[in-house]
Subunit: 345 residues, 2 copies
């Protein structure tokens, strides 16, 4: 039709086992009419501005037999995930043309969203809009819920964060400092370790790739042990942490990125230590905590404006960079929150 525009899309070509490759995805060009088709009540048609690359998306690239909290991607259709969108057309009473929102959208230039209950309207536009893929979006809620709700932190406690310069880890570390904890982070490069120490204010940090003995490293950084472990990586790191937890320690399990591309996950051998040390280990999803989002914003926005919390993003330009950016999460190529700019307005 004459009034259609080009709609570039990122689709998943095939389901993945092991490490994902760029060639598992493909950029295709479709077209779309920038008006909601007749008969779609409570829908919005949006222009996608920023797309979020998140580790949990790896699970969706594999066909799952059993249902999980988010379904596998559909082959041949645009992938989807968190993003920041601008409303171009709306039949939903809460949205009008020009509104900004963040939430679930397609990996494409324009999306027709028929379930706008998965969107949250953006009220504060005096901060970088891209932050709604990170500190003001799902990763922010993840850090907030995981640290304050799951870890039950207390002033003076010893906190360890793995993948600490990532989208969530950098926020957790700064929350922990604001709470008066002693915080050490680990990451996979000198550049990231420098960020942790010099930009995010971690008390200390180390490059796990340079530590042949993770148990020894943790004993060096936590001679008195760890009260709180914010778990982003799993596998060998978790095994080493279990040997270094203190009595009544808490492990908030946010992710296990080291395991997502393994056909057979690594074994964790030191679980028995959770008995004598009365350790609580708890998995959580940001999705269970969105009722806290207004309270979270009320806390975090002033901190950002006052410079008490900073946020580092790794910004890729153009929808075409989506596949590379997503895969880069699993090699640790990204420095800070990985996002993709589809359009700036």
């Amino acid at each position: 039709m004459a009034d259609e525009v080009r709609n570039k899309q990122v689709i998943l070509k095939n389901y993945v086992s092991g490490f994902p490759k760029e060639s598992d995805m493909e950029i295709v060009t479709s077209s779309i009419r920038l008006k909601i088709p007749e008969g779609n009540k409570d829908a919005v048609l949006v222009k996608n501005l920023y797309l979020s690359c998140d580790p949990y998306m790896r699970g969706r690239m594999t066909k799952r037999d059993t249902p999980t909290f988010v379904p596998s991607f559909e082959l041949g259709k645009p992938m989807n995930g968190y993003g920041v969108v601008k409303v171009l057309d709306s039949t939903h009473p809460n949205y009008k043309k020009g509104d900004l929102a963040w939430g679930f959208t397609g990996w494409e230039e324009y999306s027709l969203i028929t379930s706008p209950q998965l969107l949250i309207k953006i009220e504060h536009t005096d901060l970088p809009l891209s932050y709604y893929t990170g500190i003001l979006g799902m990763p922010g809620v993840t850090a907030y819920a995981g640290f304050y709700e799951v870890c039950s932190p207390k002033k003076g406690e010893f906190v360890y964060v793995s993948a600490a310069s990532g989208a969530v880890g950098q926020i957790v570390g700064q929350f922990a400092k604001l709470m008066g904890c002693y915080v050490v982070g680990s990451a996979g490069s000198k550049e990231k370790v420098d960020l942790l120490k010099n930009k995010f204010g971690f008390d200390d940090a180390f490059n796990y790739k340079e530590e042949p003995d993770l148990d020894a490293a943790l004993k060096r950084y936590f001679p008195e042990g760890i009260d709180i472990y914010f778990e982003n990586v799993g596998g060998k790191m978790l095994d080493a942490v279990l040997l270094n937890m203190r009595i009544r320690g808490r492990i908030a399990v946010c992710g296990m990125i080291s395991q997502y591309n393994l056909e057979n996950p690594e074994g964790v051998h030191n679980l028995a230590s959770i008995i004598a040390k009365r350790i609580r280990m708890e998995g959580f999803l940001a999705g269970d905590f969105y009722h806290l989002y207004p309270k979270f914003l009320e806390m975090v926005i002033p901190y950002i404006k006052q410079g008490k919390i900073v946020y580092v993003e790794d910004v890729a330009e153009g929808l075409e960079s989506g596949p590379t950016s997503l895969i880069g999460l699993f090699t640790g190529r990204n420095v800070g929150k990985q996002l993709v700019v589809v359009a700036r307005e």
Copy 2:
């Protein structure tokens, strides 16, 4: 001295790695005067009636570099553990000759206890005294705290108990039935499975040794998944359970008996499932819950008297049977709570 009596003792001869053997322990004969020596304030001298064989004792048979919640046994000295004792002499204001108590005592005929704060006086003597090594003692508190406090059970939930005919498991299963849960237990013989189904009232039970695929077995017994797993065994069983937990499931980690004799514990591979399912896994020790002991007795004693809770013991006669009985826990030789009768009164 003329007024001394024989005092047979079980001592640990050497520290153990791997599977313990009878020859790691030895029966020796010492002598003791049945009167508290001068200068011992706040002590009791007791006759040991019943000794408790508990899986945690395996850890104490190994020399540990790092301190844990109970220290290693001292070589050449009588082993110690939970037991039921009769006071023969006392310099402690709370105890007088003839009092009965349970708590920490020696693996010997008579013990001088200089820390009677590790004893709890027995007030209810109208139940079998041996029960104070089991349902009315540490295993009872373990089951109570683990189930009600750690698992936060709700009526109608699906509960799985491993090592279910053991000292703790049989109580947990009966608590779960009283709470209105659906309960399945596993054990290692037909005799034990029969006990679970016919004596303890589990809804179903299976012999894990006859299940080549534990995941498939759990899917058969829990087609809708498991809300609560009372963990006594660890290793492969935990791995299978993790695949079958329901959303917001809870795993109370009481013990991991399958791992205690391994030089290198087995790896647990399915931990990542605790994220998407928001599973809480928590280790606990009865020792943190003794403040609930009066409340626990108030609940459990009427149930026992009314026959609503039954308790099966495996009673070995004579202190000499201590080493065999203790080792039998790790081959599953015992049927029900393993205890040793040193003397009946």
